[in-house]
Amino acid sequence: MTEVTQRPRTAESAAGVVTEFFDRYRAHDVEGMTDLCSINAGFCYVPVELWGKQRVLRADGTVGTIGKPLWTGLIASFPNLSNTVHTITSNDDGDVVAEVDIEGTQQLAWGLITPAGRHYREPHLFIFHVGPDLLIDSITAYWNDAGISRQLGHNEVD
């Protein structure tokens, strides 16, 4: 029988997983980012909401169904997409909070924003939960999307 040894989940190891997540994000390794998440990891980017005539679409679901396509699209629209991690704090329960600036220069349309070659840099707050298996099982993020719109030259709220 093969015995698998695994690092225990501690505040430090949970923070390490999140640090690795942003390293992979910076390298545009979406598969690698997803590999750090459990199969049904929850995903919620709170500011993302698209108001249609009869319903509102939100970026609220799982990493596989919402997160991965969103990251892929973001990298396609902002080919130099990068991040700067300012702080990471964590606890032994697997909660990890990260203050991160996300930035990039727009080359393709992003939502309703047509590309004008402009650059944005916006502070984000990410809240992760890392499970006992050291896989991320929840990602929630907050930021001011108006800041991104205005930096990209898009002044319409919708």
Partner: protein, 148 residues
């Protein structure tokens, strides 16, 4: 005898702030704030030092939305840092963040990150989406916020 502030945990300190804010008791909320607190409210472009800056942020919200309800969904403690996730709901009754009053209802999910020390809050950083806020207040353009 140690002061009550020194015996408060980070969670208790932030919970005291949130409870006071939820009942619109700004003086009680500011009572757990370090006088030299660092205040960053990203959606408002605010980066200041001092409890008065935070007092103004809270007062503007309560003035703009007198029936403001703060519903805290999670409080996450990671060492001396406490992150609170809550929804702010209310009906606009006065100008807020440049938006004129059209008596619209607001519901905005927010995350506030607090750093604590010595039983006081020494740093506050607030995150919410101003696009969502303006959308709910019927603002059409970021460069003409007062025009509807």
């Amino acid at each position: 005898m140690s002061s009550p502030a020194l015996t408060r945990t980070p969670t208790q300190t932030v919970q005291a702030f949130l409870d006071a804010f939820a009942r619109h008791d700004i003086d009680a909320a500011i009572a757990v704030i370090d006088p030299q607190v660092s205040v960053t409210v990203h959606p408002l472009g605010l980066h200041q030092v001092g409890a008065d800056a935070l007092r103004e942020v809270l007062a503007d919200l309560v003035r703009g939305f007198p029936d403001l309800v703060i519903s805290v969904s999670r409080v996450i403690t990671t060492g001396d840092v406490v992150t609170a996730l809550f929804k702010a709901e209310g009906t606009q009754s006065a100008g807020y963040a440049g938006a004129i009053n059209q008596e619209k209802h607001l519901d905005i999910d927010q995350a506030w990150r607090f750093v604590t020390g010595g039983g006081l809050i020494t740093e506050v950083t607030a995150y919410w989406c101003q696009t969502q806020l303006y959308r709910r207040l019927a603002v059409k353009r970021f460069d003409e916020i007062a025009i509807v």
